[in-house]
Symmetry: D2
Subunit: 116 residues, 4 copies
C-alpha cells in the first residue's frame, strides 16, 4: 500500500482512539457515513448543468475538495477496519474493467457501462 | 501526491480516452457515480447488525472490496477532473477535525459528531 | 391515484412554474435530489444504535419528518414528470414481493432479502 | 392521511409480521434502505444527458417505476415506525418553501435553491 495512505490510516486510528469513537465506527456505520458524504459531494452539482460542472469557480471547487476529503477519510477507515487495501482493490477492479469493456467495442458507448 | 495515486489516475485517464468516455465523465456525472457506488457499499451492510458487520465472512469481505474499489476509482477521476489532490484534502480535513473536536471534550460522545 | 397525491403534485407543478424552475427539474436532476435528500434522512441515524433509532426524542423525530417530506416531494415530482403513478407502482411491487419471499421460507431470515 | 397510504402501510406491516422481519426494520435500517433504493433510481440516469432523461423509452420508464416503488415502500415503513404522516409533512414543507423562496425573487434562479 502507498506509504501516504498507511500514514493517514494510522492518523485516523489515533484520532478515533483519543476520542473513544471506536464504538461508533462499526463497518456498518462507516459505510453509512461514506454514503452520506458522497451525497454531500453530489449536492454541489445538483442544479448545475454538466457543462457548468466542468467549470467550477474556485469557491465551489474548494467546497467540493472538503467533501471529497470526507469521503476519502471514511473510505480509508472502512478499509482499515476490514483489512482491505483500497489501492490494490482499485487496481484489480481497473484490470477487470479492461476485460469487461474492450476498447474497440465500448468506444463512445455508455450502453455497456449501464449494464454494470 | 502519492505516486501510486498519480499512476492510477493516469491509468484511468488512458482507460477513458481509449473508449471515448470523456464525454460522459463530467464532474456532475462522476459525482453521481460516486454516490451510487457508495450506496452499493452500504447495501452489503443493510441487514447486518453492527456486531455482524465487524465479522464479515471472506466472501462478503471480497465483495465489499470490489465496491470500495469502485468508489475510489470514481473519487480519483472526479479529483483529477477538478484538479484536487485528494490525499492533501484529506490531510487538511483531518487537521481541521482535530481542532473542531478536541479529544477531551469529544471523548466517547457522538453528539459533537452529529453537529457536523 | 390518491386524490391527496394528485393535489400535492398539482401544487408542486404550480410552485415550480411560478419560479421558472422547470428548466432545473429534469428527471435526471430530480433523481439526484431524491438521493441527496434520502441521505439527509440517513444522516439523522448515522451514529445511533438500532435500539436508539427506535426511540427518537421529539426534536429528532420532527427533524426526520422534514427530511422525509423532502424525499416525498422529489419522489412526487419525478413520478409526475415520468407519468408514473407511485402508489400503483408500490402496490405492484408489494404484490411481486409476496411471490418472491413466501412467508414460510423467508421467516426470520434476512438472507433472501440480501439477495435482492 | 390518505386512505390509500394507510392501506399500503397496513399491508406492509402485515407483510413484515408474516416474515418476522420486524427485527430487521429498525428506523436506522429503513433509513439506510431508503437511501440505497434512491441510489438505484439515480443509477438509471447516471449516463444520460438531462435531455435524454426527459425522453425515457418505455422499458427504462418501467424499470424506474419499480425503483420508485421501492423508495416509496421504505418511506412508508419508516414513516409508520416513527408515527410520521408523510403527506402532511410534505404539505407542511411545501408551505415552508413558499415562504423561503418567494416567487418573484427565486424566479429562474437555482442559487437560492442551492442554499437549502
Amino acid at each position: 500500500m502507498a506509504r501516504e495512505i498507511e500514514e493517514l490510516q494510522a492518523e485516523l486510528r489515533r484520532f478515533a482512539e483519543e476520542r473513544d469513537w471506536g464504538q461508533f465506527h462499526s463497518p456498518k456505520n462507516l459505510a453509512a457515513s461514506l454514503s452520506i458524504e458522497a451525497a454531500e459531494v453530489l449536492e454541489h452539482f445538483q442544479w448545475l448543468t454538466e457543462e457548468q460542472s466542468r467549470q467550477l469557480d474556485e469557491g465551489r471547487r474548494q467546497a467540493v475538495a472538503h467533501e471529497i476529503a470526507d469521503v476519502l477519510l471514511y473510505l480509508l477507515q472502512l478499509s482499515d477496519k476490514l483489512g482491505i487495501d483500497p489501492l490494490q482493490a482499485a487496481r484489480d477492479k481497473l484490470a477487470l474493467n479492461e476485460q469487461r469493456y474492450p476498447a474497440d467495442k465500448a468506444k463512445g458507448s455508455a450502453r455497456k457501462y449501464t449494464e454494470l
